[in-house]
Symmetry: C2
Subunit: 305 residues, 2 copies
C-alpha cells in the first residue's frame, strides 16, 4: 500500500513561526514521511524576535521520552537532529542515536550541528566537545554545518578554497563522517553569492552557487536539512550532489516566495529583534505546492576544484 | 497575496502518532492555516498504548508561553482548544481565550471539552467545574463534546431523542453556547450506526448518520474538531450543518484509509493497550489528497426532530 517512511526528529519547537521541527515537519510530511517530533524545547517564537518565553527539556527528559518510543518498538528509517539546548541534551541525543543505529545500522542519521552563525556561538561552549565526540563515533551519516560551525569543529578558517578542502578532509578523516554538506558559505569576493559545498569521502567535492536574497531569514538551515534528508533517502547517499541540488532548489523557491510576501506587506527586508520579523517567517504553508515538486530543479552543481 | 489564516491550537503533543495537535495540524495546514501549536503536554505516544513517557505543562507555563506570543502581537482568527492536563491548565486556557477575545471579538473559539469517552473520565474531576465556568462566560463560539461529555456537562443522559434535545437546549441557554456539535452519539437500536448531532441556538438541530467502522481509533475527535473549525470559517457559522457534513466527510475517508492500511498489515482491527495500535494510527500523511478536497462530499444531514 503506501510507502512507510518514518523519521524521528529531535530539535526545537516554536509555537509561532518556522524554525526547528516546525520548519522540518510539513515539508517532510508533504514528501511522504511520518515525522515523529521530539521537541527538545518549546518556545513561543524563535530567538530572533529578541523576546522569547518557553521551556527546555533536560537530557534525562529527552531520554525518557525516547524510552517511551522504544518500548513500543516503533521503527525509523532516519534520525534528524538539530538545535539542542544544552550539552546534556546533546549527550542524550548521542545515546538515542547510538541505540537507534544498534537496531538498524542502515538508518540515516542527519546531524545538523547547530551551534552558531556569522561568527557567533548561540550555544554554550560545553556543547562543542560533545558534538566532536558524536562525530568521532562513526554513527552519523551526514552533517550539514554552516561555515561558522565548520570553523568551530575543525579550527580551520574557511577563507580560501584550499582551507575549505582541508576542513572537509579533516571532517571525513578525523571525525569519521562519510557525507558533508556545508551551507551558506560566503563567496570570497562576491557578496551577492552564497555557496553550498558538499563532499563524500574519497570523492571530489562539489559546489552549488546561488544568488543571495538581501534579507534575514530564520529556519532556512532546518528546512534545508529536512529536505536533504528526504532527498538522500530518495536518490541514495551515493548521489549526494544531485540530492543537494533538489533540496537547495526547494529552499530557494521557498525563500523567494517568503521574500515576495514580506515586500507585499511593505516591509523591505527584515532585521533581528524587529517587529518586521513576523513578515519574514518562512511561508511554508503557502509553499506546499513547491514541496510536492519532487524531480524538477534548475539548480546546477559543479566540481569544487 | 496568499490568504492569511492563523490559529492558536492548545492541546496535547505526541511524538509518535496522531492525536491532539499532531492530529489537528497537518489537515489545517493543507487547508491553508498557519497553525501555532502550544503543546500542553509532550508524550511519547497516546495513552491507548498502555505505556507512555512524557511531560505536562503547568498552567503558569501555558500562560507564560502565551505572554511571549502576545508580546509580539501575532494575530489569530481562531483558537482551538482540546485536551488539557489539569484544572489549572484549563484555567490558564480560559485566561488565554479571554485575552484573545478581548482583542478580537470575531475570533472563533472552538472548544473541545475533552474529558472522557464511553462512560469513563480520563481527566480529574476538578476539571469539570472549570469547563462549566468557561462555557458560561459566553466567550466560546462552538463546542464539540462527545455524548459522554454532554452527559457530564448537563447531567442529562442521552438515552432518547427528547433528552438529546433537552441537553442541547441546556447547553445553549445555561452555558451560553451558540453552536454545538455532538460527535459519536450511539444510535438507540442500531450499533452499526453513529450519529453526529448539531445545533445552533434558536434553530432546529440536525443529524448526520454514518456507518461505524468496527475498530478502535484515537485522535478522530481532534481531527474532526480541527476540520470543523476550518469548515465553519469557510462556510460561516450560519451554515453549521453544511460545515459539519464537510468535516465528517473528510474524517470518514481518513478512517476508511486507516482501516484498510491496518487490514493490509494483517491486523484485523485494534484493541486498547495492544501492539496492534500502531497499525491503526490515523494515516494522516497518506490522506493529504483527501484534506485538500474542499467542496466535495456525499455526506447528508437531515433535521433532527
Amino acid at each position: 500500500m503506501q510507502t512507510e517512511k518514518q523519521v524521528l526528529a529531535i530539535q526545537s519547537h516554536v509555537v509561532h513561526g518556522y524554525v526547528g521541527n516546525k520548519s522540518a515537519t510539513l515539508p517532510l510530511q508533504i514528501r511522504g514521511w511520518d515525522v515523529d517530533c521530539l521537541n527538545a524545547v518549546q518556545f513561543s517564537n524563535h530567538t530572533g524576535y529578541g523576546h522569547v518565553e518557553g521551556y527546555k527539556l533536560s537530557g534525562s527528559q529527552i531520554k525518557n521520552i525516547y524510552e517511551g518510543l522504544r518500548a513500543q518498538e516503533f521503527e525509523y528509517q532516519a534520525l534528524l537532529t538539530g538545535y539542542l539546548p544544552s550539552a546534556e541534551a546533546v549527550e542524550a541525543v548521542f545515546e538515542v542515536g547510538t541505540q537507534m543505529k544498534s537496531t538498524n545500522k542502515d538508518m540515516i542519521w542527519l546531524l545538523d550541528p547547530v551551534m552558531g552563525d556569522e561568527g557567533r556561538l548561540y550555544v554554550k561552549e560545553d556543547v562543542i566537545p560533545v558534538y566532536k565526540k558524536i562525530l568521532k563515533s562513526g554513527l552519523v551519516t551526514l552533517i550539514t554545518p554552516n561555515h561558522f560551525e565548520v570553523e568551530v569543529l575543525t579550527g580551520i578558517q574557511l577563507n580560501s578554497k584550499e582551507n575549505v578542502i582541508k576542513a572537509l578532509d579533516f571532517m571525513h578523516r578525523e571525525y569519521n563522517i562519510e557525507h558533508i554538506v556545508i551551507s551558506s558559505v560566503p563567496h570570497a569576493t562576491d557578496n551577492t553569492i552564497l555557496l553550498t559545498i558538499g563532499s563524500t569521502i574519497n570523492e571530489k567535492p562539489f559546489v552549488i552557487r546561488q544568488s543571495k536574497i538581501q534579507s534575514y531569514f530564520t529556519g532556512t538551515g532546518d528546512l534545508f536539512a529536512a529536505l536533504l534528508l528526504d532527498s538522500v533517502h530518495r536518490y541514495g547517499l551515493s548521489n549526494l550532489a544531485i540530492a543537494t541540488t533538489r533540496a537547495i532548489s526547494i529552499v530557494s523557491k521557498t525563500l523567494k516566495r517568503t521574500y515576495e510576501f514580506g515586500l507585499s506587506k511593505n516591509v523591505p527586508g527584515c532585521k533581528m529583534a524587529d517587529k518586521s520579523m513576523k513578515f519574514y517567517e518562512l511561508r511554508l504553508v503557502q509553499c506546499i505546492d513547491i514541496f510536492s515538486q519532487i524531480e524538477h530543479t534548475d539548480v546546477k552543481y559543479e566540481e569544487y576544484a
